[in-house]
């Protein structure tokens, strides 16, 4: 019964992630009118699901038993209460922040929740401080890395396309290479991390996907690109279509990283039920848990997320497609790499880093300083708040039940 309750909360959390966060993944494509909000919602829900199932296990394991040692708790029931407390606390904080329009991270909230129950159940010694330190460090590093990738990609586009004598001709050659590289990266990482293949085989898979996607996109771009009296507009026209792919890449990576925020605690409950003890470190996360999380996110996007996307479609007037491409690529690559290494990071904050990176490359006029202040504030408030609420909930549940 209690497991079902936990799954229900996890599903709700996944739904909330899908409803609110995913819009940022498709924002640049929808804003550029490369895709309608409904098409974006369909595509995003599928890719979020795919990302969650293909790459979600490592981060889920980190949240489930990589932050707090549950082995000190003898009674498995108490761990289940802890998992529920963490989920409820994180969910409450995210809801509250949404009401006040604050840019808080679901990732930070769930980690705060897990730390909160850990501290009251076993004291300071049960928290894996070094691991937690690395995670917190990743929150600072990920926007910087996202910014670096976006800066770098935009500079490549500048030198190889925008500064060429004929930007249109150049973009027909460069854009397929960029698409090919994206598929190379995803297939290589999937082969290494999820299929556990050796580097040689993975590299082979990567190259195969590179060649196929490069050839396909080369033909499609050549066929559908339109001439325009302004070559830069024609380039943007090509990247408008390519951006659908990079936005999809963001959703895929987001699903891989954020599914853990919803199903991490559920995975913990599953592990305990499976082992009938709190010694769970060797248990693998089954795919169906990621499937449940992915489904929750997908439903959130389909039933509510597209409404958020509709508002985006009218609002981003300034972000053109080469810039959007660089931001998406920087964000998605950072988030996907973090998922591979098991770091739960905030996609939203990585987006901020990527937008800033393009701004530094003189590609776009940003950043509203107030947002940076909000983000800094959220870093310092989110974790203590959700930790505090989680601790109170845990104490209440363990006392009364």
């Amino acid at each position: 019964m209690i497991t079902l309750f936990a799954i229900a909360i996890g599903m709700f959390m996944a739904f909330a992630i899908g409803a609110n966060d995913v819009a940022n993944g498709m924002a640049t494509a929808v804003g550029a009118k490369a895709i309608t909000p409904k098409q974006a919602a369909l595509l995003a829900s599928f890719l979020e699901f795919l990302g969650a199932v293909m790459f979600g296990a490592t981060v889920t394991k980190t949240i489930a038993n990589g932050i707090v040692s549950i082995e000190h708790i003898q009674d498995p029931k108490l761990v289940i209460y802890g998992a529920i407390s963490a989920l409820l606390a994180a969910g409450a904080w995210v809801m509250l922040a949404t009401v006040f329009g604050m840019p808080v991270s679901t990732t930070h909230s769930i980690i705060g929740g897990v730390v909160g129950f850990g501290l009251v159940s076993g004291g300071m010694k049960v928290v894996y401080w070094s691991k937690l330190f690395k995670i917190v460090l990743s929150w600072f590093i990920s926007p910087v890395v996202g910014g670096f990738f976006a800066f770098f990609v935009f500079k490549i586009l500048t030198l190889t396309i925008l500064h060429r004598q004929s930007p249109l001709k150049a973009s027909k050659k460069v854009a397929p290479v960029m698409i090919g590289f994206t598929f190379f990266l995803i297939s290589f990482l999937f082969s290494v991390k999820t299929l556990k293949k050796d580097y040689g085989t993975s590299l082979f898979f990567g190259v195969v996907f590179f060649v196929i996607s490069w050839l396909l996109s080369y033909v499609l771009i050549k066929r559908y690109s339109k001439k325009n009296h302004n070559e830069y507009d024609a380039v943007e026209g090509i990247f408008r279509k390519v951006q659908v792919m990079t936005s999809a890449y963001v959703c895929f990576s987001h699903g891989a990283n954020d599914v853990a925020n919803a199903v991490g605690p559920i995975a913990l409950i599953y592990m305990i039920n499976k082992a009938h003890t709190t010694q769970v470190s060797s248990i693998e996360i089954p795919k169906y848990i990621l499937f449940v999380g992915g489904l929750g996110i997908a439903l959130g996007v389909l039933l509510y997320g597209y409404k958020v996307m509709q508002t985006i479609g009218h609002d981003i007037t300034e972000l053109n497609n080469t810039r959007g491409f660089s931001i998406d690529f920087g964000t998605a690559t950072t988030v996907l790499l973090s998922s591979i290494f098991g770091f739960p990071i905030s996609t939203t904050h990585t987006v901020v880093g990527a937008v800033t990176g393009v701004g530094l490359a003189r590609g776009i006029e940003v950043v509203n300083i107030d947002v940076l202040k909000d983000i800094l504030m959220s870093w310092f408030i989110t974790v203590p708040f959700s930790a505090g609420v989680s601790a109170i909930l845990y104490l209440t549940l363990s006392t009364f039940f």
């Binding site: 966060d21 940022n24 804003g31 840019p103 991270s105 935009f154 004598q165 981003i316 530094l360 950043v367």
Partner: protein, 224 residues
């Protein structure tokens, strides 16, 4: 958190706002051109002045929006000081056009030679043309930004800047010549009319000067 882009990126680009502002300058200077011709044809120009007032209000509104957006931005295409200086100069063009029109409503000159009238009309046309070219130069900034400051686009911009600079030189020569002609008539014309027309010429030359300031700043920001 939903829609971070709306919070990060200004809804309206300051550059687009500047471009709207320069278009208003062209509109205003076209009105001025017509008004000056009609003034010397002895027609009433008060209506033109009212039209300029409306444009000036719009321009002020744009200026305030740019300043408001700019104060919140962390990274911009151009140096904030230079960009705001361009805005200041563009804004003063429309203010000066307004001054010209207001002056024309204050006094009707008498006994003015056709030669001087023609020269002032020619000067007005030159100034209007310069404002138009200043606008072209400013609009080109959009392409420069789209091209991520491509050297070939910067060269195109430099050529446009040269045109405005040359025009300013010709207007200066014509303005001085009109001044000399006016003061040479000190025994034939009403001294008040001489001073009045001289003030109009000075205002026209100031407009030209501001247009040159704008393009000079543009040269600076595109070569950073």
């Amino acid at each position: 958190m939903a829609n971070i882009f709306n919070k990060l990126i200004p809804y309206k680009s300051p550059l687009e706002l500047l471009l709207e502002h320069t278009k208003l300058c062209v509109e205003a200077s076209d009105i001025m051109k017509e008004a000056v011709s009609k003034y010397f044809a002895g027609e009433e120009v008060a209506d033109f002045s009212t039209q300029i007032d409306t444009l000036e209000d719009k321009a002020d509104h744009i200026k305030l929006r740019v300043r408001e957006i700019y104060s919140k931005l962390k990274w911009t295409y151009f140096s904030k000081t230079d960009f705001l200086d361009i805005l200041h100069n563009v804004d003063s063009i429309i203010d000066l056009v307004d001054d010209v029109l207001k002056m024309l409503t204050m006094n009707k000159v008498e006994n003015t030679s056709e030669d001087i009238k023609n020269d002032i009309v020619i000067l007005t046309n030159l100034v209007t043309e310069s404002v138009r070219h200043m606008n072209d130069t400013t609009q080109e900034l959009r392409t420069i930004v789209e091209s991520a400051f491509a050297p070939k686009e910067i060269s195109t911009e430099d050529e446009k800047i040269d045109i405005v600079e040359k025009e300013e030189h010709s207007s200066d020569i014509l303005g001085l010549s009109i001044g000399k002609k006016l003061f040479a008539k000190k025994y034939e014309m009403n001294p008040v009319d001489i001073m009045f027309l001289n003030s109009v010429v000075v205002l026209l030359m100031r407009i030209e000067d501001r247009a040159k300031n704008v393009v000079e700043r543009i040269r600076m920001i595109t070569h950073m």
